[in-house]
Amino acid sequence: MAVLLLAELNDDVLALDVTAKAVTAAKQLGDVTVLAAGAKAAEAAEAAAGIEGVAKVLVAENAIYAHRLAEPVAALVASLAGSYSHIVAPATADAKNILPRVAALLDVMILSDVTAVVDADTFERPVYAGNVIQTVKSSDATKVITFRASTFDAAAHGGSGPVETISAAEDPDLSEWIEDKVAVSDRPELTSAGIVVSGGRGIGSKEDFSLIGALADKLGAAVGASRAAVDSGFAPNDWQVGQTGKVVAPDLYIAVGISGAIQHLAGMKDSKIIVAINKDAEAPIFQVSDYGLVADLFEAVPKLTEKL
């Protein structure tokens, strides 16, 4: 069986970690061909070819792919679909935007956020904020899948598959890119970091969120947030961890001033060690944490930062 994997490119740079995790999942289904689509995607294609288990890389370079607008990228993927049994990608915002569109163009269902491959037609995926795991069997001719990256290990470096240039598909010309507001940070990326420190509504203000930042920097960690912290303007949207935010599974997750609503737990309960700091001893977060500290975060967090 042949698998087409849509690599994630941001401004023409390969998102190596999530793509390599999707390769691990995809390898179980057959030979993996990676598609690198961008304005200038040759370098990203080379990087993808270096992932172990990648049989071949297709590179499509055209200005219409520069910002990964859904309509042109989906049209390209759909035009290639005939040669593949499975079309897959890591379950990032990029792929969640594009792959359901591809599936509809092919008249097949999408399998979102798949966490395990049972066989070529059968997959596991979490539903109901991760409170239920469904095993589903697809009767579609082509399976279109996004893989939850946090549940797969990244494929190693060491591939040397060939890179083949393909031409662009027709541009549906329905939308145009205006601007990106991307925060640049020296911190590790949230979904690949070994340690994540997250703050919730309990932090109380944007200024005080620097307490979380200082602890994270001491640990070389990424920073996350609850929805309440994002909604209140304490933290940017791309820090949100949860059912409808990012899913993380680091070695250590420290939740500060977060109550532990199911929607938040959905994004972090597969972390190896969970630490919770909360002033309310009854907070549900303590039911999933390995180490719980009932304390005022304004005292505990600076102290923790100092002692580590």
Binding site: P100, M109, V127
Partner: protein
């Protein structure tokens, strides 16, 4: 301009889903059901467009069991002008897949000719995050998912999208399909007088067959299980004890 808003009846977000004893799915009998939270946001946005004079009619559509009428009444109480119920299932446990929902919505859109469709980003039961994208593909319209800001100006709309790296702003040609993310707005509560008024607003009843759409699922649920529960660990008395534990585990 007419705005179409698809709203789904789902398990209330405060209720923890439980798997049925036979492992066939989630037990939804006697469980509190509500409008999908993202659809409340979508509905709010549509009503605000009307209040700002950018839309002249807001139509809510729900696909599923007869009980979805209640969800549509909520939409009407929030400010929708009329509603369409497309009955496609008679068992509350039968979920209509995004592809079938999108096909029905595409047919509704061909009849209603809205300038804009605002859906939710994700249904909190199946967690698919797919219907808006599929609908947009079937109609051949532009798509703007995960909208945190929406500005409609004539024959185009400017949408700021919540993406993994931060925010992306795009301009889409109308008609368009937009999906609402959490920060788009804060939905209003329907007032009692508006709930009363909603009872008199028109609610059309159709079936999937009226639209000629086959809703049989492409994915069969082989089984549903609850994931292993994480056991609560220990409480530590102070920061020093916490640091000691983390050092012992070798994670810091």
């Amino acid at each position: 301009m007419k705005v179409l808003v698809p709203v789904k009846r789902v398990i209330d977000y405060n209720v923890k889903a439980r798997v049925k004893a036979d492992g066939s799915g989630v037990d939804l009998a006697n469980v509190k059901m509500s409008m999908n939270p993202f659809d409340e946001i979508a509905m709010e946005e549509a009503v605000r467009l009307k209040e700002r004079g950018k839309a002249d009619e807001v139509v809510a559509v729900s696909i599923g069991v007869k009980q979805a009428q209640e969800t549509l009444r909520t939409a009407l109480a929030m400010g929708a002008d009329r509603a369409i119920l497309v009955e496609a299932a008679d068992d509350v446990h039968q979920d209509i897949e995004p592809l079938a929902v999108a096909k029905i919505l595409a047919r509704v859109a061909q009849e209603e000719r809205p300038g804009l469709i605002i859906a939710g980003k994700q249904a909190i039961d199946n967690d698919m995050n797919a219907t808006g994208q599929m609908l947009s593909a079937l109609l051949g319209w532009s798509q703007a998912t995960f909208a945190g800001e929406l500005d409609v100006d004539g024959d185009s709309a400017t949408v700021t999208r919540e993406v993994d790296g931060g925010l992306q702003t795009i301009r889409v040609k109308m008609p368009a399909v937009v999906t609402a993310d959490l920060r788009l707005n804060e939905p209003r509560y329907a007032s009692l007088p508006n709930i009363m008024k909603a009872k008199k607003k028109p609610l059309d009843e159709k079936t999937a067959a009226d639209y000629g759409v086959d809703v049989s699922p492409r994915l069969t649920v082989v089984k549903a299980t609850e994931p292993p529960v994480r056991q609560a660990g220990e409480m530590v008395p102070d920061v020093d004890a916490l640091v000691a534990k983390l050092k012992e585990k070798g994670v810091v």
